[in-house]
C-alpha cells in the first residue's frame, strides 16, 4: 500500500463510494459528496473508518472541513499518506 498513487486513491474511492450510497449514480472525481451522494454523518464516519483501515492512516476531523468532492477527499488522503511515510 506504500506505493499508492493519487490516481489509485481516487479510483478506489470512486469504486467504494458507488457501493456506499443507495443512490444509483456514476461516481467521478468531481462528484460532490454532499449533494450527489448525500453522505450524512453516520455514512461519513463509516467512510472515515474504512479509509483509515484501508490506508493505515488517521484522518483528523479538522481536515474534512475543506472536503466537498471525491477529488478533495483523495487529495487529503494522499497528503496524509505521504506525510506519514
Amino acid at each position: 500500500m506504500s506505493e499508492v498513487t493519487q490516481e489509485q486513491i481516487t479510483a478506489l474511492l470512486c469504486q467504494r463510494l458507488a457501493n456506499f450510497t443507495e443512490i444509483e449514480t456514476e461516481v467521478s472525481p468531481e462528484t460532490n459528496l454532499i449533494t450527489h451522494l448525500a453522505i450524512d454523518s453516520v455514512k461519513l464516519l463509516n467512510l472515515v473508518m474504512e479509509i483509515e483501515d484501508q490506508f493505515d492512516i488517521s484522518v483528523p476531523l479538522n481536515t474534512l472541513v475543506d472536503v466537498l468532492t471525491v477529488q478533495d477527499l483523495a487529495n487529503l488522503i494522499y497528503k496524509i499518506k505521504s506525510l506519514s511515510q
Binding site: I34, T35, D40, S41, L61, L64, V65, D66, V67
Partner: protein, 610 residues
Amino acid sequence: MSSTIAKLGVPPVQKSNSLSSRIDVVVPTPTVNSSPQKRADFTTLVESLEYAAQGETGYNFYDSRGNLKSVLAYKDLCANSKIIARRLSGLGLARNSRVALIADTTPEFIELFFACRFAGLVPFAMPVPVNLGSRAIYVQQLRGMLESSKASVAVANLDFVEFLNEAVGSLVSSELKWSGTPEQLDLLPEADVVFSPNTPDETAYLQFTSGSTRLPRGVVITERALMTNLRGIVCNGLDVRLGDRCASWLPFYHDMGLVGLVLAPLAAQLSVDYLATRDFAVRPLQWLKLISRNRCTIAFSQPFGLKLCTLRARESDLADLDLSCWRAAGVGAEMIRMDTLKSFAAKFAAAGFDERAFLPCYGLAESTLAVSFPDISRGARSLRVDARTLIEKKIAVRVQAEGRKYNEFVNCGRPLPGHEVRIVDDTDHEVPHMTVGSILVRGGSVMNGYFNNAEETARAIRPDGWLDTGDIGFLFEDDLYITGRRTDVIIVNGRNIRAQDVEELAEQQPEVRAREASAFGISNEDGSTSVVLVVECRLASAVDRQSLINRLQQMVYMAFGVSCLVELVPPHTLPRTSSGKLSRFAARQGFLRRANLEQPTAATTIHTAG
C-alpha cells in the same frame, strides 16, 4: 474491580519541557483513592478541585486504538491550572471576563477551564468542526460565540487555531485581548497574584446551547447552580460510591460531557477514562472496551451513541467484552426510545451488560444539566399510551387492549431534590397527571439567564422562577415522560438544530425571501429524524429549481451535518399566523399531508401492539 488499576500508585514521571504532567511511562489514575470520598459537598468548583487534588485519582485520555495517551491526575490539574491562571492574570482582565476555549477532548482544555476559575474568569467551551466542507460556517459559528460572549481571551489547540484566527480576524468590534494556542499561552509571564476566592453567586461558566450561527445563546450558570446540580447528580442520580470509575466519549463542549462526565466525577474524586468523540464515532466499540478493561461503573451516552454501538458490534467483538461492571448506563440529551435500549441490551447481554444499569434521565443546559433521574439499578421503564387519544386529546391513556396503535414513552424519573417539574397547557395553567403539556422546571440548578440577552431570558424564565424547557411531556405517578420537543428545535443524531437557523440559511440564498422558508423535523420509520425545509419559490425553470435544492441541501449539510429534504412550493403556500409569522407546526402538517405521511404530533413513531 481490577486489582491492577487499584494498586497503581507509581509516581508520575514529568516530561521536562512540558507544563502539564504528560507522563512518559503512562499508567492510568487508580479507581480507589487514597483520601476519603466526599460527594460533591463543596460550595465552589475550585474547592472541589483543591479537595480532589489531595488524592490520586484523575483524568485519563485514550487514543483511537485504545492506548493510554496522557494522564491528568487531579493534583496535577490543580497545580497546572494555577500556573496558567497566573499567566492569564497577567493579561489584566476584569473579573468575570469570558474566555473562549475550543473544546477538543484534551487535558489542556480542562486545565484552561480550571485556570479560568482560579483567576476569576468565566470559561466557555466552543465546538470542534465535524462536518464535510463546513469551514465557512464553522468560522461563522465561532465568531458568533465570540461576539455574543464578548470574550476577552480565546484559545484553541494547534489543530483548530487557524479557524479561531479566521474568526478573530473577522470580528467587527471586539473586546478580545489575547488569542492563540495553549503553548503560546505558556510563554506569557506568570503574574504574582493571590487568587480571590470564588463566591456561590458568581458565574462559573457559560454553556452555548446550539450550533446557532447568527445568534448563539450562552447559558449563564453560577457556582451555586453548578454545585447544586453536581450534588444532585452525584448523591441522588448516581448514588456515587467507592469503587466507581467513569468512561466517556461525550464532547467537552456539550453539557452532558462537561458537567456530567468532567465536573461531576471531579466533585466526587472519581477517575475518568476519555475517548475523543471523533474516535468513538469512528470506532464506537473502543468505548465499550475501555469500560470493560478498566472496570468502569458509570458511562453516559445519547441514544444515538448506543445505536452506533449496536450497529457496529460484531459477534466476535462480544467475546472480548465484560460489561458486568457497568452499573449506571446513563441515557439522555435527546428523545429516548425504548427500542434503542432494548436492542442495545439484547446485543450486549452476551457481554455481561445488565439492562438494569440503564438510567434514562432528563435535563437541559438551562438547568445546568440534570433535571430528573429514575431510581438507580431499576433499568428503563416505559409506558404505552393510546396513539389516537394522545393526538386528539393530548391525554396519555395506557393501552389496555391488544391491537391498538400506541406510542411508547420512557420514564425519566423524578426531579432532583430542591427541584420541581410542572406541566402546563397553552394558557400556562397546570394540567392534571397524564395530560401532555409544556414542561416547566424550577429549582437551584436553573440558569440565571442567557448571557447579555434579556429578551431570550425573559422568554425562557417566568417572573416566578419557572424555566420553560421547550420540551413537551406528561407526569404519571410523579414520574416524568418526555413526548417531544417543540417545533423550534430539531434533534438529529443527538444534535440540537434550531429550526430558525436552518431557515436563516435558506434566506441567505438570493432566490429566497425573508419569511418564506420553514424548517421542521419529521420522524422516519426507523425512528430517526429528518430535517425538512419547505421554501416558497418563484423559479420556473427545472434547472434553476434543482440548483436551488442542491445548494440548500449542501448549505444545511455544511452547517449541521445532516441531509435535508427540500420541498419547493408556490408562493403563499406556507401557513402564517395572524401576525404574519410562519407557523412551523402548520407548515409541517401541510408537508405531511402533501407527502401523504401520517405522524403523531408528538414526533414519535407509532407502533402497533399485539
